[in-house]
């Protein structure tokens, strides 16, 4: 059944590769233009739950990889679809998927904050977790956390006991 689904997807959508791993995981790699169409297609195929949106910084390829994981509310359908797209690391931009899956909102906000990806059409890209502003978004690979925290926190002096 999973194989049929995969062949159908590959036939319907161009520029798409995919493979099935054991334990019911279907990986699909695609381009960012057809993400909304693909997500809508899956939603109609009863993969109606967006488990999460994630992001991986592939610094060697100079790309950011956005990952959508879709599962189903059906009780007899353990298949998870892992949808991967690569976007440019220098000008990361992507259409929001909130019209399709409403619970993508905080995930996109988080990725905007931690990876610096702009989601076009997102209603509130305000800071979610962070208090300070960072030059490089902190979850990117070129952000050196240890150096940063050392510089920031160790430069604060102890309040001495002397008068």
């Amino acid at each position: 059944m999973n194989k049929e689904l995969l062949t159908e997807i590959l036939a319907t959508f161009k520029k798409t590769q995919g493979y099935i791993e054991k334990d019911n995981r279907l990986f699909i790699e695609t381009k960012k233009e057809i993400v909304p169409a693909l997500l809508k297609y899956f939603k109609d195929k009863s993969f109606d739950r967006l488990a999460m949106v994630s992001c991986v910084d592939r610094i060697n390829e100079n790309k950011l990889e956005i990952i959508y994981i879709l599962t189903s509310f059906c009780l007899d359908n353990p298949l998870n679809i892992i949808l991967k797209i690569k976007i440019s690391r220098n000008e990361p931009e992507l259409d929001t998927v909130i019209p399709i899956f409403e619970n993508a909102e905080p995930y996109e906000r988080e990725i905007h904050e931690l990876f610096g990806v702009d989601f076009i059409g997102h209603p509130r890209l305000t800071p979610l977790f962070l208090e300070r502003e960072y030059e490089i978004p902190p979850f990117r690979k070129d952000f050196d956390m240890r150096k940063y925290s050392e510089e920031l926190f160790d430069s604060v002096p102890f309040v001495g006991d002397e008068k």
């Binding site: 208090e131 300070r132 956390m145 926190f153 430069s155 002096p157 006991d161």
Partner: protein, 185 residues
Amino acid sequence: MDRNKISKWLKGPAKMGHKYSLSAIYFCTGCGIIEVPPVITARWDAERFGVIPVASPRQANLFLITGYVSLKTLKAIIRTYEQMPDPKYVVGFGSCPINGGMYWDSYNTIKHLDKYIPVDGWIAGCMPRPEAIFIGVTHLWTLIDKDMAKGYVKYREKYESYRKNQEQILGKLEWKPLYPIRRRK
């Protein structure tokens, strides 16, 4: 009540009042919070030591910092601390506020809490067991008895340095200074 205690009550009732009535506010600042509910409920019952949680910082005199402090929480902690009436005691809870603990290299948690507000006592451990919390409380009693829990006095005296440290981490603070700041030339 033994004679010693009675004479202490007669000598300094206010001090004894502070000692045996510790109204705690606890921020759920981190993992440490998970041991606070057992401590205040049936199994360990901190109320027999006079420790009772209250809802508003205005009514509290014991501030439990229960774990690592992220930058956003630090702001709230400073505000809460400044709202508490004197005398007030702060107890750092767990390894994280002492020196960063497990999160020593995180970009969002501070390492030494006592750089930003004065801390009267530490309870080490990740996480401290309920017994350790009680030892912390009795230790705080000793400190109060010997007039050594004077963090709030230090805060008043060194307010400029504390405020400077706070602003170095958090940027410009949007509330007015608690004590007047003398500008040095």
